[in-house]
Amino acid sequence: MSAAVVPEKPDQPEKPEKPRGSGPAKSGTAGAASLRSAARTYVERVRGGELGALPAVLGLIVLCAFFAALRPVFLSELNFANLLTQGAGSIAIAMGLVFVLLLGEIDLSAGYASGVCAAVLAILLTDHGWPWYGAVAAAIVTGTVIGLVLGLLVAKVGIPSFVVTLAAFLGFQGIVLMLLKEGTNISIRDQTILAVANDNLSPALGWVLLAVSVAAYAAIQLRQDRNRRRRGLSTAPLSLLAVRIGAMAVLGSFAVHLLNQERSRNIIVDSLKGVPIVVPVIGVLLVAGTFVLQRTSFGLHIYAVGGNAEAARRAGINVAAIRISAFVICSSLAAVGGIIAASRGNSVDPNTGGSNVLLLAVGAAVIGGTSLFGGRGRVVDAVLGGMVVAVIQNGMGLMGYSSGVKYAVTGSVLLVAAGVDALSRRRAVQR
């Protein structure tokens, strides 16, 4: 690792000011000053190349403002709900890809893996009359097995993941065709599966869910803060905590309120209001994935292997097992993405999980801030990046652009995101 040896800058003496551990807020005075110093720390980190979610959030704001200015219908309740359900499938796949990208690997087959799992779901539901839970379980197990095979080929046999998953990309495309008897389309009639991407929570349930989420988030944050304060460790200022919880409550309320408006064009035929069911589904995946990556030693080991596999090996981490499990998680989440896609399309055809699904998912993860070089990224990146991708697709559709233009623009945005990633990484290494 040549990058590990940083040339010394003699003109930059190490700052002896603070003994470690005592953050700016040790005194516990949670005022404007500590908030300002927290902001300063954040700016320092961004300047040092740790951009985090900043580009995706800024991009999201700019794009939304842009489309809202040109096409007011973009901001309508109906379109907002559409945006969420459109993005959900590729967000689930992107969440899985984050695990693989964290290792510095790639899974090009995630799209068609989701197609295979969706085909398994549809065949079991429609042709064999399985109950929905059995079919869902079978689809997810299919994903798990796919991930296990890919992971073994990469970690044990030692074939580069690019080649393994490129081969799987072609192979799975064939398997979908074979499963669907050369291209017939299987429609799904199971009400539970259809509800995932097409139905909404009742307005009241939407509010309850939001209240529970905010309360749980606040409780966890405050408990952690109290624990650290009691032990005299550095803590984020309480005011920052309040801002975060407040922002979550305000943004959440705004979204729930908007989604609870009637958005049916013809109320007599059908009432359409409430938070789409996919939103809590993605929410649960987000919380679970974030917990695994940030709070467990398994998650830490994924970061370690992605950062320096040799160091991880010397620390006694089973690198091969970590690699295999990342592929298992990726393909299993791809199965979830496939189920959402099947639900949204009311059917499974040879194109499910095909065409641009994979590239949009990889784009979502990278645009959200997950590094292609490994070692950096979070599950929430997939959600933020997925929203950026969905906004581009949706907004440009509203503006009447052809799909050709949509592809070209999405591709350019992916390129920009990867460029930001590469440059910020170089900045972090050069210091």
Partner: protein, 258 residues
Amino acid sequence: MTATPILQLRGIDKSFGPVQVLHDVSFTVHPGEVTALVGDNGAGKSTLVKCIGGIHPIDGGEYWFEGERVHVHSPRDAAAMGVEIVYQDLALCDNLDIVQNMFLGREKRSGLVLDDATMEEMAAKTLEGLSVRTVKSIRQQVSSLSGGQRQTVAIAKAVLWNSKVVILDEPTAALGVAQTAQVLELVRRLADNGLAVVLISHNMNDVFAVSDRIAALYLGRMAAEVKASDVTHSQIVELITSGRSGDLGLAHTNGATA
């Protein structure tokens, strides 16, 4: 020395295929002292260290630890006894913070969840024990640290586990003047805290600055183990380059025949 050595090797032989790298090497390390291990490239320093660390099994000879004969078969055995090696290429993960690096592979958990608070406390205490004041926050990423600070983290990682012997492979090789002084100070402090420290170095100034004893390897043989105060700079250089210096050193130094 009256104190019993914490680690003692007697008559170690080690071959890789037809090439014998270590011939009848004896090596003694005392607690509370810095023992410098010097020798030219290819003299067998790294091999000897890897034998101590359990990475290479020894072919012949005895390995004594705390007055008892032991058999070390793997790095895990060595770590269990309290022998830690800090390699030249540090083995830190740039994308993790200081605490995470220090505990990597041996994280503290409460149930399923990482016990960050306890790890942070232990890491802070260890760094404090080493009087390390150069890092701003132990929650900063290793990628943002200077070379000397990285070395400090790597050493602190080795010390964290109540280790008894810490072996440092060229800890100052990539460092500037000020950083080298800092790391050497830390090395001295480790010994003053009662640890046995083995310092591998090519730099005679570093060796004489911190070590109590000097062991010189010459073509796979231990040329001399002497107190640093009993020898001069040039004597050590002679031992390194020719295997003997006056009365010190090997009786026969003409190649590997002896």
